[in-house]
């Protein structure tokens, strides 16, 4: 659905996006992760033909962007950074206006499509209030509704969870899941790891303009071949399993071992008190922290891994 080849964008001397090769397949729920300033928004804008690449190629649904943007974007719903609307008009009037402004905005079905999109976005009870009186969450929902009015085949959403309360986030997640199940490919960017972890099937991680990782979430979260052990007799464990213990922090140990159950059995047989034992599975947070530096909102040098034992422990 989306393919980029050596996609690069420079603003003067600053390289915002550097030689990125993204590959989003049909039916994916693709999450683009990265700290602030890593180039997510620039990348999204390039995919939508808003920003022109310095070099490299973009293909969306088989057609080149920006050359064929006007044809391709008919089938794309987008949320770029924050939602925007004409503040003096009602939400419904905004959707009507936007629908009338471009292709695929059939006037006969407009009302039905807008009602459907508002319902999907949780704004079915919307009244004639102008958008300037909307809360942040309502604006976000309206932006989502605007992206859905023409039943797109591809949704490109930049930070869709922004400004939403926990209910809104849950509703949006469910909505995207439903849409995905009905065949819509979803590409979303976010710095909210938990969001991406819960709703994406595939992730790409952007750091300082580079795509440092692109993988199925399932593969990333496969067991690491290590076992986390919490034991009051940590010293004895270290003695028993000398060489296999990669890290020790008080009562907690990281042990290189393929099978937690077998290890448990052995430790118990040796009379070691084990209060918890489990195979190590990296959280997405660990994966991200491992492959990225600090965001550019942190002033000072990049602090890689930031001394988090879990992160260090999971480093191969």
């Amino acid at each position: 659905m989306i393919t980029t080849r050596s996609l690069t964008k420079r603003y003067g001397t600053v390289t915002a996006v550097s030689s990125v090769d993204i590959d989003v397949r049909e039916g994916d729920r693709y999450g683009l992760l990265g700290p602030n300033g890593s180039g997510k928004t620039t990348l999204v804008r390039m995919l939508l033909g808003l920003v022109f690449a310095t070099s490299g190629e973009i293909e969306v649904m088989g057609s080149r962007i920006p050359r064929h943007a006007n044809r391709v974007l008919r089938d794309v719903g987008a949320l770029v950074e924050s939602p925007a609307a004409y503040p003096n008009l009602s939400g419904r009037a905004n959707l009507k206006l936007l629908d009338a402004a471009g292709p695929r905005g059939d006037r006969r079905t407009r009302r039905r499509r807008i009602d459907g999109a508002l319902e999907q976005a949780g704004l079915a009870g919307i009244d004639r209030r102008p958008v300037k009186n909307y809360s942040l969450g309502m604006r976000q929902r309206l932006g989502l509704a605007a992206a859905l009015v023409r039943r797109p085949r591809l949704l490109i959403l930049d930070e869709p969870g922004n400004g939403l309360d926990p209910h809104g986030i849950r509703d949006t997640r469910q909505l995207l899941l439903d849409l995905n199940q009905s065949g819509v490919t979803i590409f979303l960017s976010s710095h909210l790891l938990a969001e991406v972890e819960q709703q994406c099937t595939r992730i790409g991680i952007l750091d300082q303009g580079r795509l440092v990782l692109q993988e199925e979430l399932g593969t990333l979260r496969a067991p690491t071949g290590r076992v986390l052990v919490d034991s009051a007799d940590a010293g004895r464990v270290a003695g028993l399993l000398d060489g296999a213990v990669e890290q020790r922090d008080g009562t907690r140990l990281v042990v290189r071992h393929p099978d937690a159950a077998a290890l448990n059995e052995r430790l118990v047989r040796e009379g070691v008190r084990v209060s918890s034992i489990a195979p190590q599975i990296r959280t997405l947070e660990e994966v991200v922290l491992e492959v990225t530096g600090a965001g550019n909102d942190q002033v000072g040098g990049p602090v890689r891994g930031a001394g988090d034992p879990a992160v260090q422990g999971s480093r191969p």
């Binding site: 804008r45 033909g49 920003v51 939602p83 008009l89 471009g102 292709p103």
Partner: protein, 299 residues
């Protein structure tokens, strides 16, 4: 898309407020003139104002001369300066572009809306000031008609062949700037020409503001930039040592439409005015298009 732009234009309070203000200034002036019967002497003050006491039907011309130097260009610069920069600042520009609305199409629609606004504003002034003139100053008001009446009624019979009803001939002949009378039909024809000329002049302003609107991030900046160009032009127009460039200044022939009210029409400056505005419109629209079409939209 054009309908969408018109809808946005006419659902904004700003549009109506500026039109009301543009029409309000001539009303204010008319009230003062009608109450005091003190118009500036001929050759002084705003154009035509000395003549309106004798005939309210000339008031549209006087009103256009009143709003032309400031009110009209300011409102045009604000609307045109807002067109792209305002969408950008509001964040809606990116949503229009990904809708998708092609950049060229967006610019053409904006231009269409601006042209509509200019025409709407100019026509609003013309129509309301005609009504104001007739009702407040009278179609040949009894007190004021005496002095220039001789010029108006005397040769009136000569040129009034076009007037359909003989009974209103005397009443409907209006003194032109050159002293020769005009029939109501001629007056309407010339007012139409003047409206066209002023509209084209304002499109020159609009083109400059539209170009700046594609460059600037703020609508206010674009509008003020366009006005700065006009002010600079006005300064240079009066400066003798700048006479080399004066024929090319945007405001040089702004007042040439007054020549439509001479008998016969004095075409030279009018033609130059049309030509220079056409050049400004073409150049700045091309620049606006070139800039918008290649611009990274990061707002």
């Amino acid at each position: 898309m054009m309908a969408v732009e018109l809808y946005k234009l006419f659902t904004r309070a700003r549009t109506w407020i500026s039109v009301v203000l543009i029409c309000g200034l001539p009303l204010l002036v008319a009230v003062f003139v009608a109450v005091t019967h003190l118009a500036p002497p001929p050759g002084q003050g705003s154009a035509f104002l000395s003549a309106v006491l004798s005939d309210g039907k000339l008031y549209p011309a006087a009103a256009l001369a009143l709003v032309l130097p400031i009110f009209l260009p300011v409102s045009v610069a604000v609307v045109a300066g807002d067109s792209i920069a305002g969408e950008a600042a509001n964040g809606t520009l990116r949503y229009l572009l990904v809708r998708p609305v092609g950049r060229t199409r967006l610019l053409v629609s904006k231009l269409f809306a601006i042209t509509t606004f200019v025409l709407f504003a100019v026509l609003a002034v013309t129509v309301t000031s005609y009504l104001i003139g007739v009702f407040l100053l009278g179609p040949g008001a009894p007190a004021a008609v005496a002095q220039p009446g001789g010029a108006g009624t005397g040769p009136g019979g000569i040129v009034s062949g076009g007037a359909p009803t003989a009974g209103v001939q005397a009443g409907s002949s209006i003194t032109s700037l050159s002293g020769a009378p005009l029939t109501l039909l001629q007056l309407m024809e010339r007012v139409t020409w003047a409206v066209a000329f002023i509209t084209v002049s304002m499109l020159g302003v609009a083109a400059i503001a539209l170009f700046l609107s594609t460059v600037a991030d703020s609508a206010l900046g674009a509008a003020i930039g366009a006005l700065a160009v006009l002010v600079a032009s006005e300064v240079l127009v009066t400066l003798n040592s700048a006479s080399v460039i004066q024929p090319y200044l945007p405001t040089r022939y702004w007042l040439a439409w007054i020549d439509f009210f001479r008998q016969p029409i004095f075409w030279r400056d009018i033609q130059r005015g049309f030509a220079i505005q056409a050049v400004y419109v073409a150049v700045f629209l091309a620049a606006a298009w070139a800039n918008l079409a290649t611009k990274d939209v990061t707002t």
